[in-house]
Amino acid sequence: MTDNEFTLLLERYSKGECSPEEAAVVEAWFNQYMANATGKSELTDLQGTRSRIWKGIGVKHKPAVKLLAVVRYAAAALIVIGGITWFYINHNNKTNFKPLTAQEILPGGNKATLTLANGKKISLNAQNDTIAIDPALGVLISNDTATGVVTYKYQNRKTERGNGETNSFNTINTPTGGQYKLQLPDGTIVILNALTQIKFPSRFAGSTREVTLIGEAYFEVAHNPNHPFRVNTADQQVAVLGTHFNVSAYPHQPTKTTLTQGRVKLTQPSTGASQPLNPGQQAELISRGFNVKDVIASDEIAWIDGMFIFTKTPIKEAMQQIARWYNIEVNYQTLPNVELQAVLSRKLTLAQVLDAIQFSDDYEYKINNERRLEYVRKRGR
């Protein structure tokens, strides 16, 4: 081979026109040639070099304008409407939206709606400080958006002893991706997980303190032996004097009650079955009575500390929690039959969570514009 042919070979290499064999020889030579180089780099003005090269590349950042949330949503709505219009005008079957990525899906936060006895709805993430005073009941309702706590308090000692009516019920709803804390006038604290509803009187009167729950909540019930506290869910009642426990009662999912402190008694109104529970135990409501097992209670209530803890948790169960927190839908049919082990912060983005729980190299997740997640098997690899 002549020098010219060697030059041509290198030229073909850099154009990507070599055979794999030729390429391999060029690469092997290049490595050796570089390895034998003795040139020493001077290390002056690295910052200057860095920014000079960067400018030369000529990448321009799109201006990141910070808009008010409202404006942003309005803009998003306009874009969507515009997109749909464009779609129809063109009669085009291809979708032209940029798919939503898991990276863009952010975790939930403090969000809830309070509905007062008179039907007035208050968005708790918007309105701070005092929300309402009910002079007839002598209860003051205040809200702290920063910490996500709404507090019911008696105005003074006199109103505390008063005998206001009990059938003026308030309701708090958390949406998907929402959580909120509620302090009741008796000092009981309730932490509401996502997609949860609690109904409670604005003041407790009568012999019992009763609330009704759909979804999941953690209760720290203020001790009062004279007025038992009761949590009613679909076909289950938890009766306590003053303890800490978690109730998960989502529709179409098993109702589970976990005790962290004290003692509770569970009853099933339809069968009359009853079940005492000790700390560290979890009762699952079944058609006739309860299944009780020992659990690590702190794992079961990890959500109140801002964590997901999965310990050999079936993926479907874990995904239900993830779906509620990230406001996504999951195509459960596409999930393989695996168990997850993971400790994750609830502040991570969806992508970080999904990458962390990646259970197999054979599967990858996809998420579409309707926030619907599914897993697909990778083809040949």
Binding site: M1, L10, G39, Q341, E364
Partner: protein, 200 residues
Amino acid sequence: MSSRYKQYNDIQLSELVVQNDTHAFEEFYNRHWLKLYLFAKKRLDTKEEAEDVVQEVFMKLFQKLPSVHAKQSLVPYLYESLRSTMIDLFRRGKRKEEVISSFREYYEKGVYDTDNQVNYNELERLIEEEISSLPPQMRKIYEMSKKRFMSNVEIAEELNITEESVKKQLYRGIHKLRNRLGRKFWLNIIILLVWLNRSL
């Protein structure tokens, strides 16, 4: 630039780069330019030539982005592009005679490894080795910026506590969780994050 990009590993960052996130691209550039520059400089006479090579490699990458779909790290692409850019420059440059005679000599010896993977691994080793030629302090800062998440020093600064106590806290936390989770321990990074959130 938002510091959250620093938290992504190369694969996560590459995914964002592919989606045309220019901030992710800048972080990607910041992480890798120096290695490429130091490597190129070994066989190039002037700083300017080395700068041009690095610039061209990143420019090509940026222009190619719309056609890249791979859900994987862009680093191998970067290294391969550096190699072909340098070879292109060699055959045209001032020292082309020297280059060709080296190539000829190598070719005619007829003993070389034609396994592409081996060649790539060697290239990767050579490029990353250049970092070790940096003075220790500079190397430390570089390595730190490469880490997926915050370093202990940054954590200490952030939390306003000593680095030692960060280490202790993380160790205790991880130990506790490790016992609970058993042997399957591929989540330490996330656990670290969780403990950070907790201690904040």
